[in-house]
Amino acid sequence: MSEDKIRVLVAKPGLDGHDRGAKVIARALRDAGMEVIYTGLRQSPEEIAQAALQEDVDVVALSCLSGAHMALFPRVVEHLEDRQAGDITVFGGGTIPDDDIEELEEQGIEDVFGPGTNTKRIIERIREVAA
């Protein structure tokens, strides 16, 4: 009985030490029936790309609270492209000023979700891109 299960990598690039938000998202996605691979704190963009590829995820959800998102998020996209895995969708979240969003989206981040984004909306977007 085949089913196309949605798989999501939830990752925290950079040095900030808070993963409560990432864990909340991870559980919400699980409750929505998805398989969530959670890799923990302080991942480098290269580690994240390697994990995304091995786990064959549909989506990588990045969370960053340290302010280094402009440096880190696009590098995840680059590392995925280097591995011929540019078709994996990357979402970003965390404390990201509105002014940065457009530039991130230009650099291949599909969507950027600010703090307080309803998890229903995130789930919906993931289902759309994974379809």
Binding site: E47, A51, Q84
Partner: protein, 316 residues
């Protein structure tokens, strides 16, 4: 990345993207998986398959991370399959074993895959056998499987791995009880992890006295599981654990037990695939599901026994 033949060839070339995709097809029971697996099957059988099981929190992932490190130092390539439970209600899962497996996280010769148990109560997803074969076919020398040690998962892993290490930790008296309740037989090696904590000696002593009883009347050439103390956190005892795995491997090869295990594994896998396919044939369509629900009503209404319902469903 859509054509089974191409994916199979790429897996045989060691391409990680292709291997990852094929594992997903097998997990999803996607028809493309079967054609690709047909192609790679003849190229499998050379990897050493090791299992690590034990209660949640006993340090399995931390230990696997150290094992991987040790194998890489010997230049062996490694695949890891880490299984965590899926929610029986939503089918979703949070798979978090990678958190503790970061030492080789950019090493191209290490491939780590997280799997949800997908609905098999406490047991392992059928795709685990396929995932092992895929990592074997892509050329991994060693494949390590981590499974949560609750109930069926522990028993299933014996049917998947050549050598199984059971991880125990000090201070959990109940653990030893579960071990006594029949889990004992599945361990080829005992790792008493968290040996930095109080109570290690007692845990080791309990295991030893249990083994003494269990092996009282055993043949001389029977394998007696060694007990290894480990501190996965800092790598203490990992060399000894590797040596224990090697010792058991040698035992399997010299006694012919390896073939015996692989025969049992093949038998078990064929039988479970028959069950899966029969269930699929009967329930796999909307019409089948409707018929099934009708029979459920009949059983509930005491018109039919479950056995006759099963018989009638299989009739056509």
């Amino acid at each position: 990345m859509d054509d089974p033949g191409q994916v199979a060839d790429a897996v045989l070339d060691g391409n990680p993207r292709a291997a990852a995709r094929l594992i997903s097809w097998a997990e999803d029971r996607d028809d493309r998986a079967w054609r690709a697996l047909e192609r790679i099957h003849p190229e499998t059988g050379s990897a050493e398959i090791q299992g690590v099981t034990g209660p949640p929190g006993s340090g399995k992932s931390t230990l696997v991370d150290k094992l991987v490190d040790s194998y890489r130092e010997d230049e062996a390539t490694v695949g890891v399959i880490a299984v965590d439970p899926s929610s029986p209600f939503t089918g979703g899962a949070v798979l978090a074993d990678r958190i503790r497996m970061s030492r080789r996280s950019t090493d191209p010769d290490v491939f780590v895959r997280s799997m949800g148990s997908r609905g098999k109560l406490g047991g392992l997803a059928p795709a685990i056998h396929d995932a092992v074969r895929i990592l074997d076919a892509m050329g991994k020398d060693v494949v390590v499987i981590e499974t949560m040690g609750v109930g069926q998962g522990e028993v299933d892993i014996v049917r998947t791995a050549d050598t199984v290490a059971l991880v125990a930790v000090p201070g959990l008296g109940d653990d030893i009880q579960t071990i006594k309740a029949g889990i004992m037989e599945i361990a080829d090696v005992f790792a008493v992890n968290k040996a930095d904590l109080d109570g290690v000696q007692q845990t080791v002593a309990e295991l030893e006295s249990h083994l003494r009883l269990a092996f009282e009347d055993a043949d001389d050439d029977a394998w007696r599981p060694p007990i290894v103390e480990t501190i996965a956190k800092n790598g203490d005892g990992v060399d000894e654990l590797v040596a224990a795995y090697e010792g058991h491997r040698e035992h399997l090869e010299t006694t012919g037990e390896l073939d015996e295990r692989r025969r049992e594994r093949a038998e078990h896998e064929i039988v479970s695939l028959m069950k899966e396919r029969v269930t699929e044939r009967v329930l796999g369509s909307e019409e089948g599901t409707r018929r099934f629900e009708g029979f459920v009503e009949d059983v509930m209404g005491r018109k039919l026994t479950p056995r006759s319902a099963a018989g009638e469903l299989l009739e056509r």
